[in-house]
């Protein structure tokens, strides 16, 4: 793979530029958003004097560019915060301090990230297995009754909201059958087995929704490949249908599946709010929704940057996989 180092370098530089651009946009959006940040941060019972103090402490009176400059400084050089009694140092890359709790944003994110990653990566394995598997089956059994049944099931999957699937799963599996306890997040490092059992239902509900899309994409890509000339060649040479579908047609579905998967994984890190809320998982999505509600700018910026980073990372991984899967692709 020639030029792989160059590819990584270009990608890294591109990622940094993208993330900075996103942070500028988030700052501007929040700057022009109406509402008294100091009042919200301080709470409804604060006196006007207290609100003024909070505003001064958070530098809310400074112009936009000054605040953004402070953010950049923190990001690349670290920053000191006074908490009234003592001075706290926040080392680079410092994403700032929560307006609400005074916690360092990076710590908040690092606390939530394992939950989100556990949820998304586990669900990904399931949705790929379910989705691609179903897609292959329906491409193989095309035109028969079994394919129509599969298509109906996948369509129903796409059309059902995650909270419906999740609720039904919880009521049936945990409530009626009592096969599993109601999910409660257990860290992987504490108890891997409990981690998996507790995440099983969240994984399933997230995966069932996504799997439908993958099934339809896989089926479509495989049917397209099956209509191509090289498949005719192998038919004309007596290669059986199973090998044609399993080897040649499936290979053609690789690229679109990789591309879709990259987007889904990236956006699910911060976007699986419904699943997180439903199962009480303290992940990035939930925290982000809360931070937006209370206009906790440093937390929002930090979260958005982390989510964007995962989207970019997932796409870079997809590009590498592309090039490995199809040698005609040159990384650039």
């Amino acid at each position: 793979m020639s030029g792989f180092g160059g590819f990584l370098l270009r990608r890294a530089v591109g990622t940094v530029i993208t993330l900075l651009a996103i942070s500028v946009i988030v700052y501007v959006v929040f700057y022009v958003t109406p509402g008294d940040v100091a009042q919200i941060t301080c709470g409804p019972r604060c006196s006007p004097e207290q609100v003024r103090q909070v505003a001064a402490q958070l530098h809310l009176g400074d112009p936009l560019y000054v605040r953004y400059w402070h953010f950049l400084q923190g990001l690349f050089a670290g920053q000191d915060f006074s908490t009234g009694t003592s001075v706290e140092h926040c080392a680079a890359p410092c994403l700032g301090q929560s307006y609400q709790t005074g916690q360092q944003v990076l710590d908040i994110i690092l606390g939530k990230l394992p939950v989100s990653l556990s949820l998304v990566l586990g669900a990904m394995v399931l949705w790929l297995a379910l989705g691609v598997g179903t897609g292959v089956l329906s491409a193989w059994r095309r035109g028969r009754v079994s394919e129509r049944v599969l298509t109906a099931i996948t369509l129903a999957g796409t059309a059902t909201p995650v909270f419906v699937i999740g609720l039904v799963l919880m009521i049936v599996v945990c409530g009626e059958l009592q096969l599993l306890p109601f999910p409660q997040y257990v860290a992987f490092t504490d108890d891997p087995e409990q981690w998996a059992w507790n995440l099983l239902l969240p994984w399933l509900s997230l995966a069932l929704i996504e799997a439908a899309t993958f099934a339809r994409l896989t089926r479509a890509a495989m049917l397209e490949t099956l209509a191509e000339d090289h498949v005719r060649t192998f038919r004309a040479y007596g290669v059986g249908e199973r090998a044609i579908v399993g080897r040649h047609a499936l290979r053609g579905a690789f690229a679109p599946v990789i591309a879709l998967n990259a987007n889904n994984v990236g956006s699910a890190v911060g976007g699986a709010v419904l699943t997180e809320t439903l199962f009480g998982l303290p992940g990035i999505g939930q925290e982000l929704v809360h931070a937006v509600k209370v206009v906790d700018l440093p937390v929002v910026v930090g979260m958005v940057l982390v989510i964007a980073f995962f989207v970019v990372l997932a796409n870079a991984v997809a590009d590498v996989l592309y090039a490995v899967a199809d040698r005609r692709v040159v990384l650039a």
């Binding site: 060649t233 192998f234 038919r235 004309a236 040479y237 007596g238 290669v239 040649h248 690789f254 899967a325």
Partner: protein
């Protein structure tokens, strides 16, 4: 018992009868060509020999026996045992006929393992062996290449290697050289010939090119509308055809030794290119597709441009009409330097299907140049419509075709529409990039005749780009031979064709299939067995 027995074969798709009561036999070791224009049903016959129409909804009647297997009655399993093992097929487009994701050696090994109980290792070894046999240099290493890493000729060799893997009794070759350059075509035909003499397998060749048939087979079966028109030894059918259709077909085949008649050329230079150069890519990957080409085009003449694929013909044509900016050098139109698109220099494209917008009526497509020229204001629509009708009639179509869509026309008609569109801007020069290479010989002859007529009437200068040396000879006053972006020979067409100075030009001319089987055999002997291109 014959190797192939086809009795009263009919194949129907929907309401169409693609093959209609065809019968023929092919003995072991013999070679038969099915010759016909597109739509004559020849490829459908080839598919029927391997039972490839099964499950496609086609209705197949009559009997087909191949190497002892009754193809109609055989079970799926019996059919699979026939396919590839006893009868193997080589397809037209070698790039799309191989799986782009797998190594070529693995694809051949896969086929071999379907029919033998060989181990993976033994199958790989067999793949290398057959690749070596068809002349792929360094076969052990190249077996690991993907199809896109092979040239067109090597890909066709790889497909032939796949066919050879199980030592079949019958090789079915469906237009095996249509996508290839003439020198590569000659190599592939020679290879097929050698393999046939060596292994004693039968050959069924499907081709639209009578010359290719003359080079390769003992017997010819001429097809039209799904029926046999004439069937006999190749020498007899080509030299003394009994049927009028066969004669028509043969007459339409352009001859490389036929001079152009009646040229209205003048000395007035309309288009002049000096030192044209065009590079693609940057840095280390940069290469010059056209390199230092200078030529002139005179009013009323045809300049032929020939060369193999990748020689830079199309890039040159695009620069002449201003669709591509030259990296160096310049173009003068009527003595004045000119850059960018020039309405007086128009282009006719190779593929009449993809060069017309399928979602717009042909009238609208032809009107585009008129609208681009700023035809508007009161009565503009009527004027445009009248002009389009006139143009349609001028190219031999009906004015009433104005509101039809491209898919309602045949290939030849679509190319006429392309010509009408080029004429709309009242050009003085038309650059035709492979204008007839997607057409059958009879249609080809009609389109060439139309271009000649227009040239005489309108005093047009034509730049005729093609890889087919015989067609170019028919139309050209002067000729430019290109190789790797450079002009290797440039002069009056008759001089270049009759006494070429360059070895490369001689090589090109020697590779043109001869219509005379005896001459073809002599030339083949002179060429000897070639290495892979």
């Amino acid at each position: 018992m014959s190797l192939v027995e086809v009795t009263d074969l009919t194949v129907g798709f929907g309401s169409l009868r693609a093959v209609d009561g065809l019968s023929f036999d092919l003995d072991k070791g013999a070679a038969l060509a099915l010759v016909g224009e597109s739509g004559s049903g020849k490829s459908t016959v080839a598919g029927a020999l391997l039972g490839l129409h099964r499950g496609t909804g086609a209705r197949v009647g009559g009997t087909v026996r191949v190497a002892g297997t009754d193809v109609q009655e055989a079970t799926e399993q019996e059919l699979r045992r026939l396919r590839g093992a006893k009868a193997a097929m080589v397809f037209q487009d070698p790039l799309s006929s191989l799986d782009p994701y797998y190594a070529i050696g693995d694809q051949i090994a896969e086929v071999y393992r379907v029919h033998t109980r060989a181990s993976r290792r033994a199958a790989r070894a067999r793949a290398v062996e057959v690749l070596d046999r068809v002349g792929i240099p360094d076969a052990a290493r190249r077996a690991r290449s993907r199809p896109h890493e092979f040239s067109g000729g090597m890909r066709q060799r790889a497909l032939i290697a796949m066919a050879l893997a199980c030592e079949p009794d019958l090789l079915i070759a469906d237009e095996p050289t249509t996508a290839l350059d003439v020198t590569v075509q000659a190599q592939i035909l020679d290879l097929l010939h050698t393999l046939r003499t060596e292994t004693g397998m039968g050959l069924l060749l499907v081709t639209h090119d009578v010359g290719v048939a003359a080079e390769s087979v003992d017997e010819v079966l001429v097809m039209r509308h799904g029926r046999a028109v004439e069937h006999g030894p190749v020498g007899t059918v080509l030299a003394a055809p009994r049927e009028p259709y066969t004669r028509e077909l043969l007459d339409a085949v352009p001859r490389v030794d036929a001079r152009r008649t009646g040229s209205p050329a003048t000395d007035e230079i309309v288009l002049e290119a000096t030192g044209l150069r065009r590079e693609f890519g940057r840095g280390k990957r940069a290469f010059a597709a056209v390199d230092d080409v200078s030529l002139t085009v005179r009013r009323g003449e045809t300049l032929g441009v020939v060369g193999e694929s990748g020689s830079g013909k199309t890039t040159l044509g695009r620069m002449l009409v201003g669709l591509l900016e030259p990296t160096a050098g310049g173009i003068r139109y009527a003595g004045e330097p000119h850059t960018g698109v020039n309405p007086a220099v128009q282009m006719v494209f190779q593929d009449p299907v993809s060069s017309l917008n399928p979602r717009r009526s042909v009238g609208e497509s032809i009107a585009d140049p008129l609208r681009a020229r700023g035809e508007r204001g009161e009565g503009a629509e009527e004027r445009i419509r009248a002009r389009v009708t006139e143009l349609l009639e001028r190219v031999g179509l009906e004015g009433a075709h104005h509101d039809r869509y491209p898919h309602e026309f045949s290939g030849g008609q679509r190319q006429r529409i392309g010509i009408a569109r080029a004429l709309a801007a009242d050009p003085r020069v038309i650059v035709c990039d492979e204008p007839v290479s997607a057409l059958d010989v009879t249609t080809q002859a009609q389109v060439v005749a139309l271009l000649g007529e227009l040239q005489r009437e309108l005093g047009l200068a034509l730049v005729f780009i093609a890889h087919d040396l015989a067609v170019v000879r028919q139309v050209s006053d002067r000729l430019a031979v290109m190789r790797r972006g450079r002009l290797v020979e440039y002069g009056p067409a008759d001089e270049v064709y009759d006494s070429p100075r360059e070895a490369y030009t001689r090589q090109l001319l020697a590779a043109v299939p001869a219509l005379d089987p005896e001459l073809a055999a002599r030339r083949r002997a002179a060429r000897g067995e070639p290495a892979a291109a």
